[in-house]
Symmetry: C4
């Protein structure tokens, strides 16, 4: 077998297409399954819209928070894999490890929809979000540190910046887990506010980075 | 890093492929989950087909209306993104915002399947349909107004025409919400008839537009 | 706008990619949702494997039949769209019309899993299968009759042969519906045997057709 | 019709794209549906996290084992189809046959989640895993033995090595089924340990194979 054949086989084996197909499938299903947690309420005749909405409100808030969590995860996954030219077995399995807590999220959403005031539910939900963030950081760190997997090298500063953006959310979720026992309301609020902070942080990072600068590689 | 590299990286970051993969996944799942709302009836021995069909009729009508809503949304999304060459972060997040009410539609379908005569259920369903239409208009307006995101520019008249086609459905749904309290039957009927009007409007717009004219860009 | 631009825009608007993405998504979801109809039985300690299998047998047979129905539908859809180079709005909407009964199949499977001995359940299941077959014939007939939508023209004989293969299954299902009232067992048996006949018919058609002959275009 | 046309039509008919689209869809849905088996527990106020986790532990272990089974199946499917250039009807239907037990896995996971100590549940789960492995071996054997379906030929030794890796898991699962009746705990443990052994075996096989050697073709 000549060199060209070996090279082509290498390209086929390392092609990220199916990794993205599986991931996008899981993202799409998780984001759509979340709504199944919102139970159709028993509507009494003459009930007002406000009253009916009040009934499904806790479920709906848990749905909204989880929807945004999945959306941010997907957008970050898309930005990261826009840098990735090839995969290797470790990257493939890190990606599967990342899909694990993501696929458990509908369970977590159901948990805080039904038991949003229980510390233990808030702790379990927080552990899920930390697991999603940590595995995401692992993919980022592993992928951006291996030039042969990338379209073009990512410099040291960009790698740390990308790491830091996700690390901040880990800190926020750790606080939410820590205070769940004494102040469940604050814990719940952090889960709702964290995504908003993430948007602000990302917007700032992009605005302050000049075009073509390494910060454009943020995950 | 030279200019060619920066350009290629820009193309990869703005490539719409994964936006379409996520969207088509959500469309496919939502359109298939809708049927889960149709409960298998208890069939008494000797029951006629007509009798059995009568039992699942309200669920089936709610399913049919929602199926057509998703199908129209998908066809419009496909026509719009046939014009889109690149995405930017705003377009990506507008598209996610659009997937939000779409992913809630199985809940809405379940609501009118079980409580189709309740004003509050009809109002909530209408709010969902308005949210789908409004976010769709936002994507259309944002995307068609930015030539660097398009394969070829869309002129002013086409942009307004595309906007108007969806705006008409918003008006219809607003009427359905407004009359839900006093005439639930009329409200329900509007949800069933609106898609049909949409087809007629679209067919007319296409028929009257000469080939190559801007109206071919209708969403 | 010059001719080349109009041509390229035409190609983008008529590209079948997203039609296939939506269809494959629906096929994948329907074929996977079918299993949700098999209820986990209550297993008594000391129960034999045979006993446990007996308990889920009706559900499992309904699952198997429906799985094969979806698989044949997908394989036929793939063979047909291997001929299709471009879509037009009618073909797009015929395809959506085809996905409608397909997406209702999990409901039909559930129906015969729980009420497999009830004539009315067998009739409703048969109507679904006829609707899938008829819409499939409509896509086949419409698509193969329009050379501008095809990679290469399909001749008259092939069109009729493709039509006939599916038409035979419609006849079989019509018989199953007709005898459901008097002989539910025979009706159920036809649903199980029809796919097998389809395989035999297809194998014969392919075996008897010389390479490059029009019969290779069978759906 | 000239030779070039017949050749192009042949390529379109045998293109594996949609086979992979359907398969990735099924993989993504199965891996995400598994979590639906984990029931949200009733959390008593003041319950500890440990207590709540203990309640969902059996479901969670069943989920984890099944998640890894699907992930290994997907990774193996991806590696195999990286060798496949064209499909034929037999390969397409072998692949569908492979998706059959895979799509039943959520049922199997539910079975051992709720009845993990019942021999009959462990036997049924084992039969599913054997069916997934056997159909996978069939695809591997059929595909790698037909050079016209491959990018480059796979030699005899690689074919047997690929066969052996999966065959080992069949033996492990057969043992688990055999001992389910007398030692359900051991049976359950084998299902948990088998994937780990598979990883070790695969890592060893890849480490010992020099670059470009036939063992790189392992499934």
């Amino acid at each position: 077998m000549d060199d060209e054949h070996i090279l082509k086989r290498y390209e086929r084996r390392t092609d990220p297409t199916r990794v993205l197909a599986l991931s996008d499938g899981v993202f799409a299903i998780v984001i759509t399954l979340l709504v199944l947690e919102i139970q159709v309420p028993d509507l009494a005749s003459g009930q007002t819209l406000a009253g009916a909405l009040r009934e499904v409100r806790p479920s709906f808030i848990a749905f909204l928070i989880s929807f945004v969590v999945v959306a941010i995860a997907w957008a970050g996954h898309r930005d990261l894999f826009a840098l990735i030219r090839r995969t290797d077995p470790v990257l493939v399995w890190l990606n599967i490890l990342y899909l694990l807590p993501l696929s458990v999220l509908p369970f977590g959403a159901s948990l805080i929809a039904r038991h949003g005031e229980e510390p233990v539910a808030l702790e379990m939900y927080g552990i899920l979000l930390v697991a999603i963030a940590v595995t995401r950081m692992a993919i980022w760190w592993y992928g951006t540190g291996r030039p042969h997997l990338l379209f073009s090298p990512v410099n040291r500063r960009s790698r740390w910046a990308g790491f830091a953006v996700v690390a901040v959310s880990v800190v926020a979720y750790a606080v939410a887990i820590a205070v769940a026992d004494t102040s469940p309301v604050i814990s719940f609020a952090i889960y709702g506010i964290a995504p908003i902070l993430y948007f602000i942080g990302l917007a700032l990072a992009r605005t302050t980075a000049p075009p073509g600068s390494p910060d454009e590689n943020l995950p």
